[in-house]
């Protein structure tokens, strides 16, 4: 029987909810320390990416234009149109 996979709501509040759920599981011994640790590290990465996005949006709003970058088979192309 396939178990239904719960999808995380893709917002900061959804991320908090997922972390709270992990707290519950860990407290009740339904999860292990390794899983909790990897979830926490993943959450930190997501938050840092989001923070960078917010900063980039603020710079963009202030008039700064970014040079597009593309990672191709030949390497990194600066100023490439994707």
């Amino acid at each position: 029987m396939k178990s239904k996979m719960k999808k995380t709501e893709q917002t900061s509040a959804g991320l908090c909810e997922a972390l709270f759920e992990e707290f519950d599981l860990l407290r009740n011994d339904l999860s292990d320390a390794h899983r909790a640790s990897s979830i926490a590290k993943l959450a930190v990465q997501i938050i840092n990416t989001k923070k960078l996005e917010i900063e980039a949006a603020a710079f963009h709003k202030a008039g700064l234009r970014f040079i597009p970058l593309a990672l191709t088979s030949k390497g990194l192309q600066i100023g490439a149109e994707s």
């Binding site: 519950d24 860990l26 640790s37 930190v44």
Partner: protein, 172 residues
């Protein structure tokens, strides 16, 4: 008439004609403030979302095992940064809400410092202008949520380390 204009009317020194009305309005405002503060610091009777400690949990002080002094954890209704949207606020025990309080204040100060324009910089060190600066340059809701998520992730990492140590101890 809006609530703000009623407050402005009550605080206006020039209108000496309406002192009685002003007093009444001020007493009503005080009453509203009392009810609101009581609501914010109301004991929920629920458990902390992070550690699961609740209102009836009593713990012996860990540093002094012989002591009979006990803690009672009282999860609060609304935590710092969520006062304007209490329905979104998580429930935290005293120690975790203190931890979050410190993180929030540091982040708030940093955000104000980073975004403050040159003309307002002299207000940074003045306590009287604290509210004004928070209103102008305070953390937006999205950043509050992100900082809280970061706080949670760090607590989860800490808890996982503790659990790992516990498990290693059991094996040895």
């Amino acid at each position: 008439m809006s609530f703000n204009s009623a407050i402005n009317f009550a605080l206006n020194d020039k209108s000496t004609l309406y002192t009685e009305v002003q007093k009444n309005i001020l007493s009503l405002i005080e009453e509203i403030e009392k009810i609101y503060k009581k609501h914010l610091h109301r004991n929920t009777g629920e458990h902390c979302d992070i550690c699961g400690k609740g209102v009836f949990t009593k713990e012996i002080m860990p540093k002094n095992q012989n002591s009979n002094v006990t803690f009672t954890y009282l999860p609060r209704n609304v935590i710092v940064g969520y006062e304007h949207r209490p329905s979104d606020s998580p429930i935290l025990c005293f120690s975790h809400s203190c931890g979050w309080n410190k993180v929030f204040k540091d982040k708030q100060r940093q955000h104000i410092f980073d975004n403050c324009i040159d003309d307002d910089q002299w207000k940074l060190s003045k306590f009287d202008y604290e509210e004004e600066m928070i209103q102008k340059y305070g953390l937006p809701d999205e950043k509050i949520d992100l900082n809280f998520a970061m706080y949670l992730a760090k607590r989860l990492l800490q808890l996982s380390r503790e659990k790992r140590k516990e498990n290693d101890g059991r094996r040895n």
